[in-house]
Symmetry: C2
Subunit: 337 residues, 2 copies
Amino acid sequence: MACTIYDIAKKCNCSTTTVSKVFNNTGKISSEKREEILKAAKELGYVRMHSAISLASSSRSSHLIGVVLHINDEKSITHELFSEIINSIRIEVEKDGYDICFLRNLKDVDHITYSQLVNSRGIDGLVILSMNTKTKKFNELMNTDIPKVSFDLLNSKYYVTSDSKEGVSKMVDYLVKLGHRRICYVCPDSAGIAKIRFDGFVEGLRRNNIPFDSRMVISAPYYSSGSSKIATDKALASGINPTVIMYPDDYTAISAIPYLRSLGYKVPGDISITGFDGVELSQVMRPSIVTVKQNTKSIGEALAKLLLNQLNKVEDFEKEITVPVEVFEGESVKDIN
Amino acid sequence: MACTIYDIAKKCNCSTTTVSKVFNNTGKISSEKREEILKAAKELGYVRMHSAISLASSSRSSHLIGVVLHINDEKSITHELFSEIINSIRIEVEKDGYDICFLRNLKDVDHITYSQLVNSRGIDGLVILSMNTKTKKFNELMNTDIPKVSFDLLNSKYYVTSDSKEGVSKMVDYLVKLGHRRICYVCPDSAGIAKIRFDGFVEGLRRNNIPFDSRMVISAPYYSSGSSKIATDKALASGINPTVIMYPDDYTAISAIPYLRSLGYKVPGDISITGFDGVELSQVMRPSIVTVKQNTKSIGEALAKLLLNQLNKVEDFEKEITVPVEVFEGESVKDIN
DNA sequence: CTGAAAGCGCTAACAG
DNA sequence: CTGTTAGCGCTTTCAG
């Protein structure tokens, strides 16, 4: 049977309190006793039982971190952007003894809240990668004092984001350099990170002296089944006869290719396209996709840092981290000069 | 503050025992009392606390499932084959109220075993997707009575695997149909699933009347940094002057392309290649890779089923499930007839 | 059909 | 510096 602090206490002729203090680095313990206990623990193969710890102590932790990734169920963790970020987080937090679990989506369960879910698992902190921000449940969660950090939620207290505005405007620079001026920009939302990126688009137009025309902007969602078709149809019907369509993410751009082909367009021969994220797929396929590459490793490290700092009660650390991006110059944009 | 069974008991004028029994479906409770308790629970927003449950009861569960994915740290969950399988598992087990967490790799920690780790988290069951089978720790884990199911570990009690033998021999059929006879087969291991696949290779040669030549078989690892180079170098130096190299997985095949190009070979102009797994990447890129496609959705569902059956103490269910595969006929093999 | 009491492994005052 | 005691939320005999 598994060894408990009681076994250690008995072996070392001391109380469980003393043993507990050693493992928690609390109180004052003589260094001899400490060594003795540590040695005994090793010999007996002692492993702390997280469930007991989190039961006994509200403050002390279970060393479990919850990941919130509520994009569509089929894509979920198979989305390269997120799997890379999660892996980076995992590598970082494991160094501090934390493990990762996924927080289920409560969208079809109405009698329980996210904070209850977190509580029931004894989760110490949350990394919110993607979540529907328009629900009561989301607001309820954000208002709890569970340590948390988000990706791209610009009005949460601790967040990590990519320098998307700069990325998009640089992308516009690139497109203009290749002769494009009739640009369709697919915008999935009027707020949050989508708004920031949109600002980057406008900024890009401005600094290249291209007058803004509202028909340039297409409203269509991020990647989901059928999102490419929606965006593409709207772009083609926009009335500006675009030479390039800027999709909101790589997957949407990638699946736009067969759709455009089915309509008789060559890509990038007849129409150019761009993506966003820089997933491996977009760079290896043909044509490779011109995209804004997010640095998933850095993002994961930053997310882990912001969360761990809260959990370790570090004081005075930065609360928002913006990670640089770069434009990947692929083959999906034609030089029409 | 969170509601506990004590609050419910008070509200319903009964003991915590009764409440507990209702939630566990144990003992005999009058249906009126049961309804009353369930109603109160809903009103109070009661959520069971998994950590307390698993502390109080060794048999009763924390509804946490551990996933073991110990391939190299950078690839890990970003490997499409595994991210798809894990997502499929997640979708299935969440239906039964289970959540998923990752079991860290203990390769650099020698004072604790996997079963201790499982115990410390109160994990109910394990899905072993990838693990180093040559360690003491692995054997120790397999000998515990923790409910578990593996992917591709053919000598574990409960496992799910793809019909790889059939897949490889069908692939040989396909290659031969396109005129190939000097085939290099990259074999990463002499046991386990790699051996099964190898048997498929031999079977494929046999039924196409191609004499087996030991120089056809190259020993090189599954995907990792530099694995493509190792396999490719050996294949080119094999002495059989291959027209096609069969790599053990898609990622190795994909990264072989730039390497072969750097050596002056066109793919598939000068040399053809094949992969294994059928990750999305391999099918979307150019040239798309001829590969054996594993059905990740079915695999995940089968894994979940075998584990859940154990956890729910279902009796008399199948212990091994073999999932059909298909050959994806991509562009990476040239018709040399 | 229901409840009292003990205990899972651990922590946290509070004494000493 | 160390130990006593109570208790976290829940389950489980064992009585009734």
